[in-house]
């Protein structure tokens, strides 16, 4: 028997008030303050006048900052794409594993969350740097190959040159993919896990190959999961700040790094607030697109 909330107003209010109050106090009010700052002017080191000016937005829309926004979108989109390509087979494998293995695999996916992002990023530095584990492994292989070639009478390979894996845009993307992969795998897994298996069996029975079944049956059915996976990977990747800061080179500045510097070194809160809100509007657009995709998928379903 289903009850609507109207039949139990008191109970509903008792449950709803604390989270709404929390949301108001710790999310909407601070956000409103930052929003107000974005229309303010600095009048001293610690004073801001709310003058209703659009100057901060005008400055934020200068080509310099638009280019940085665009670059952040590209990096975030590339990260999301790689997460999807890597995460889909992983999610598929987990969804089709035996219940016992499934629990372990899910645990492995969630394990990184138990460690602080900063520590994980530093661990990645230790792996990728020139005196890091990737280069140690490559050097070992190189030297063995070299020794083998001498053994069979060929010229040995030259001196091993360590690969430069850190402090460039590739390192930033590797770091972002590493950090955001669980965000992609989990919604994909939940979509694939709920899927009606009989549809896949029907597809295979009717002569479609495995790849065709995945492409024509599994992917469309998992579309809402894919869309939400893309969304919750893309949004944090777009606002990433620690990863480009620590793994990036001189070309790896993303918009969140610029925003951070406005609030700190430049001591320009109004401009930082305007940039933050532009970033948030971009996020809203992404959410709207996702809702559209979801709606279309539901209509088709």
């Amino acid at each position: 028997m289903e009850q609507t909330w109207k039949q139990a107003k008191a109970a509903f209010a008792a449950i709803a008030v604390p989270p709404i109050g929390w949301l108001l106090l710790f999310f909407l009010i601070p956000l409103a303050v930052i929003w107000a700052y974005s229309f303010g002017e600095n009048t001293g080191p610690i004073t801001i006048d709310f003058t209703g000016t659009f100057a901060n937005y005008a400055r934020a829309l200068e080509p310099l900052y638009l280019e940085i926004f665009w670059k952040s979108i590209i990096v975030a989109a590339l990260t999301t794409l790689l997460c999807l390509v890597i995460g889909f087979p992983v999610a598929l494998a987990i969804a089709f594993a035996s219940p016992k293995t499934k629990a372990w695999l899910l645990l492995l996916i969630m394990l990184p969350f138990w460690t602080n992002l900063l520590i994980r990023t530093f661990a990645l530095i230790a792996v990728l740097r020139e005196n890091g584990y990737v280069n140690f492994a490559l050097e070992w292989l190189w030297n063995n190959a070299s020794g083998l070639m001498t053994l069979v009478g060929l010229q040995p390979l030259g001196e091993f040159e360590p690969l430069t894996l850190l402090y460039n845009n590739t390192a930033v993307v590797i770091g972002l993919v590493y950090v955001h992969l669980p965000f992609m795998v989990l919604p994909l897994y939940s979509a694939l896990d709920r899927m009606d298996r009989s549809l896949m069996e029907a597809s295979l029975d009717l002569g479609a190959g495995h790849l065709r079944t995945i492409w024509a049956v599994v992917v469309p059915l998992a579309a809402p999961g894919i869309a939400s996976g893309i969304l919750i990977t893309f949004i944090p990747a777009l606002g990433a700040y620690l990863t480009p800061d620590l793994l990036g080179g001189t070309d790896s500045q993303m918009i969140a790094n610029v925003i951070e510097r406005q609030f700190k070194r430049a001591n320009d809160w109004p401009f930082g607030a305007a940039l933050s809100f532009l970033l948030m509007y971009l996020t809203f657009i992404a959410i709207a697109v996702q809702a559209l995709v979801q709606k279309r998928a539901e209509r088709r379903g």
Partner: protein, 368 residues
């Protein structure tokens, strides 16, 4: 300015510690305000850089005065400033660098000191008795000073034919160390040192020079591997780079650590930027008398000696310097030669607008 002050500069712990420091700062804020408002028991709430105090200093002060010190840590001047921006949450003594002494005094975030309560001021070297950034030392007492310079891997530099890279040229205007160098990501410091390289004062840089500095940095960018967050000595130690823009104190720590003899530090012949971390009392400090007593204690010769032995930074205190061994007093990394010091300058606080301009130049260089 002097972020990342820690003893063994040989690992990436530094930045972890900084972030840890920030986290501790946040977690202590609640209890601190409680202390501040209560005002019952005597205590000094000390807001300091990480590993920037002697191992027993706080306990010694408590033994001498019965007043406990509650130390909280910050990692950058920006963090210190942001923390106090909306009002003092209960700190009694803070340690801003020179430019921030000016900025915070202008914003009335720090208060005038009562010099009659700080007799140990007499221990300071004559050149630190007064300061351009704080005329008459009305708001601050010097705690340490430090300079930026070039840290380098001796073997790698020799292999490139520059056994002693004693000019800013190698960092700002030259490809010898292509993709083997890292610069500090502090916009103001970077631009001011470029001005030094161009042979002009690092204060009041003319607009035409700002343009040419921006172009020079954009030209130099392909040779630069990274803009580091004051963990340059770690990049050097891990072999990622051969040459780096760093503080002398950080390099002195790296060089005194194990394997540190592979590295050296030079203040370029064009001169450099001097910073000084200062003791100050924020407006609204709840324990004014004890705050003065604590500052006075930190300027005491024996107390200062224990601090300096630990942190290895140049001291502005004449009596502390006299107590230190020759290996400290004659260390050219800690005390650069007089001729380059003569060409070096303090960076003045030139207003927030200037800071924003520097920041935008850095954003443009990074985006180019």
């Amino acid at each position: 300015m002097a972020k990342g002050k820690y003893r063994s500069g040989a690992s990436r712990r530094s930045l972890l510690q900084q972030f840890g420091a920030a986290a501790i700062g946040i977690s202590f804020s609640g209890s601190l305000s409680a202390c501040g408002q209560g005002g019952g028991g005597r205590v000094v709430n000390f807001y300091n850089w990480d590993t920037y105090i002697g191992p027993t200093t706080l306990a010694d002060f408590q033994a001498a005065t019965d007043v406990p010190v509650n130390m909280t840590l910050f990692a950058t001047n920006d963090e210190l400033f942001a923390r106090l921006r909306a009002g003092n949450p209960g700190f009694d003594v803070i340690v801003p660098s020179n430019e921030f002494v000016t900025r915070m005094s202008q914003a009335q975030m720090i208060q005038e000191l009562d010099h009659s309560k700080i007799p140990n001021k007499a221990n300071l070297l004559p050149e630190f008795q007064d300061a351009a950034f704080d005329p008459g030392r009305r708001y601050s007492m010097p705690y340490t000073w430090l300079v930026l310079g070039i840290g380098y891997n001796k073997e790698a530099a020799a292999a490139k034919g520059v056994p002693r890279p004693d000019s800013w040229k190698y960092l700002f205007d030259d490809g010898t160390f292509h993709q083997r160098m890292a610069l500090l990501s502090e916009s103001a410091d970077l631009i001011r040192l470029c001005a030094k390289y161009q042979g002009i004062s690092l204060n009041n840089i003319p607009a035409s020079n700002l343009t040419s500095i921006e172009q020079m940095l954009i030209r130099q960018k392909p040779h630069i591997k990274a803009f580091h967050e004051d963990d340059g000595q770690d990049l050097l130690a891990s072999g990622e780079i051969d040459i780096v823009l760093e503080y002398n104190g950080d390099m002195a720590q790296l060089m005194s650590a194990e394997g540190g003899d592979r590295f050296d530090f030079v203040v370029p012949k064009e001169g450099t930027l001097i910073n000084s971390d200062c003791l100050a009392i924020p407006t609204g400090a709840p324990h004014l008398d004890d705050a003065h007593a604590f500052i006075n204690y930190l300027l005491d010769p024996e107390a200062g000696q224990k601090i300096t032995e630990e942190i290895q930074y140049p001291t502005p205190n004449a009596r502390v310097r006299d107590l230190m061994p020759e290996s400290y007093k004659n260390n050219p990394v800690i005390f650069p030669p007089a001729d380059v010091m003569a060409k070096s300058e303090y960076g003045a606080f030139e207003g927030d607008e200037k800071a924003r301009q520097f920041e935008e130049i850095f954003t443009r260089v990074s985006a180019a």
